[in-house]
């Protein structure tokens, strides 16, 4: 093999990164060809828009005040659908087993999947935000930058735990029920933080006012991703 022996630590990091990257690459290729997730989720977002409007009635004011919550509700619903399926592709042809046999730190697989899920969720978010802005006539452009930060932090929190639990529930009975039941209670802090922060931002408050929420989110994200990295190999084994 190649003469990387000079810096064994460095080449291990390179190999790890390559593995995470190739998992992302694979999922992206498969998604692009099979188009399973993207189209369905896009349509789902559109449906949600109508659903919320019908549920809350024609009163513009009521809808406007509910927007932060609805945005994240819609987002979480889409997340439940999209994230839960993260590892379904690995069920065919025993690829799950194949992954178990790969050498090295398995958490690279987790990070690759996490990255893929973050990209997917971000796409869903952008679509929802645009749809909300257009259909509900809400100004989401002015606070766009700080809002993007909140969205990013919330996405990581949701995806970090979602990816881990998705791996777990892929092999369990009643997967479609268990996944939300496990994920939602754990996501309560993320939901509270993101909705509160979004609400403040939409009311025109400066970013500094929601700094404590952002710190909470950042801290939570760090914790969730770390636990994901540390425990993924135990989940993969099954």
């Amino acid at each position: 093999m190649s003469a990387c022996a000079k810096e064994p630590g460095r080449s291990a990091v390179v190999a790890y990164t390559k593995r995470a990257w190739i998992v992302l690459w694979k999922d992206f290729l498969i998604e692009r060809r099979a188009k399973e997730h993207a189209n369905a989720l896009l349509f789902f977002c559109l449906l949600l828009l109508f659903l919320f409007q019908f549920a809350l009635g024609p009163d513009r004011e009521r809808l406007a005040t509910a927007v932060p919550g609805l945005l994240w509700l819609g987002f979480i619903l889409a997340g439940l659908l999209g994230l839960g399926r993260s590892f379904l592709g690995e069920r065919d042809n025993d690829c799950w087993e194949g992954l178990r046999l790969t050498p090295g730190d398995k958490s690279a697989i987790y990070l690759g999947k996490l990255a893929g899920n973050c990209v997917l969720m971000t796409a869903v978010e952008i679509i929802l935000v645009v749809l909300f802005g257009v259909f509900y006539n809400i100004d989401l452009w002015t606070p766009a930058a700080p809002l993007a930060l909140v969205l990013a932090l919330g996405t990581i929190g949701l995806a970090a735990v979602g990816t881990l639990f998705a791996a777990m529930t892929t092999q369990v009975r009643a997967r479609e029920l268990l996944f939300p039941v496990l994920l939602l209670p754990v996501q309560v802090p993320v939901l509270l933080a993101t909705v509160s922060a979004t609400q403040a931002l939409l009311l025109g408050q400066p970013l500094a006012d929601v700094a404590h929420w952002l710190k909470l989110l950042a801290g939570a994200d760090l914790v969730y991703v770390t636990i994901g990295i540390l425990t993924f190999e135990f989940v993969l084994e099954g």
Binding site: L164, P185, H212, V223, V235, E237
Partner: protein, 213 residues
């Protein structure tokens, strides 16, 4: 040994409840209903103890793969859900005459409810997996995440409440505690902990015997 623990727990409970309902003074503002605190507070403390043990058992199993750690986590999880349920119910009963409603989204009650849901999910996960090794591993991951999440939930709910309502005076933790109340509380807490330990030991024993058949 377990037997002695059981009797000790019963004794503790008798003394504790006697202290709470007889010996301790009637609270000025809330009246006799406040006495339910002697159940409510020890219950939540015991629940936290239980979930701490779930965390310990989860980490223990992942580190050593010995089934005894998993049995600890499972038993503690069940008891934790039980005591959390007790906390919520007693908190609700306390709340009805005090605030006029069975449920309020105050910080502590909400946090406890979230805790309840996390660990009910934990038990649900356990019930759906047959392979003991996979069950132990997956439960351990959820157990660890759930426990580590507790402070995060606590802060997020607290700040969320602060947005919607200035903090209401919840109870004795605001005013200086009458030493008699404090003592009664302490005795009940010890009694609950003993009771918990007894149930835990029993439950783990049953699990061990079940595994052998």
């Amino acid at each position: 040994m377990t037997r002695a623990l059981g009797w000790l727990a019963v004794l503790g409970l008798v003394v504790g409840l006697g202290a709470g309902f007889g010996y301790a003074p009637r609270e000025a503002v809330q009246g006799n209903v406040q006495r339910i605190m002697y159940l409510h507070v020890p219950a939540v403390l015991t629940a936290y103890l239980a979930f701490g043990l779930v965390l310990a058992g989860s980490i223990g199993y992942l580190a050593t793969r010995r089934p005894s750690w998993d049995r600890l986590a499972a038993a503690a999880g069940e008891l934790g859900v039980l005591f959390t349920g007790l906390t919520i119910v007693s908190g609700s009963i306390w709340g009805k005459p005090t605030w006029g409603t069975w449920w309020t989204w105050d910080a502590r009650l909400t946090s406890t409810a979230v805790l309840f849901m996390v660990y009910v999910g934990y038990l649900l996960l356990r019930s759906l997996i047959e392979d003991p090794d996979a069950r132990a591993r997956y439960a351990a991951v959820v157990g660890i995440l759930g426990a580590v999440n507790i402070p995060i939930v606590h802060f997020s709910v607290k700040w969320w409440r602060a947005l919607h309502q200035p903090s209401t005076i919840l109870g004795p933790e605001r005013s200086p505690i009458d030493p008699a109340i404090g003592l009664a509380l302490f005795v009940n807490w010890v009694a609950f902990t003993l009771l918990f330990a007894y149930f835990l030991a029993r439950r783990m024993e049953i699990a061990r015997l079940e595994e052998q058949t």
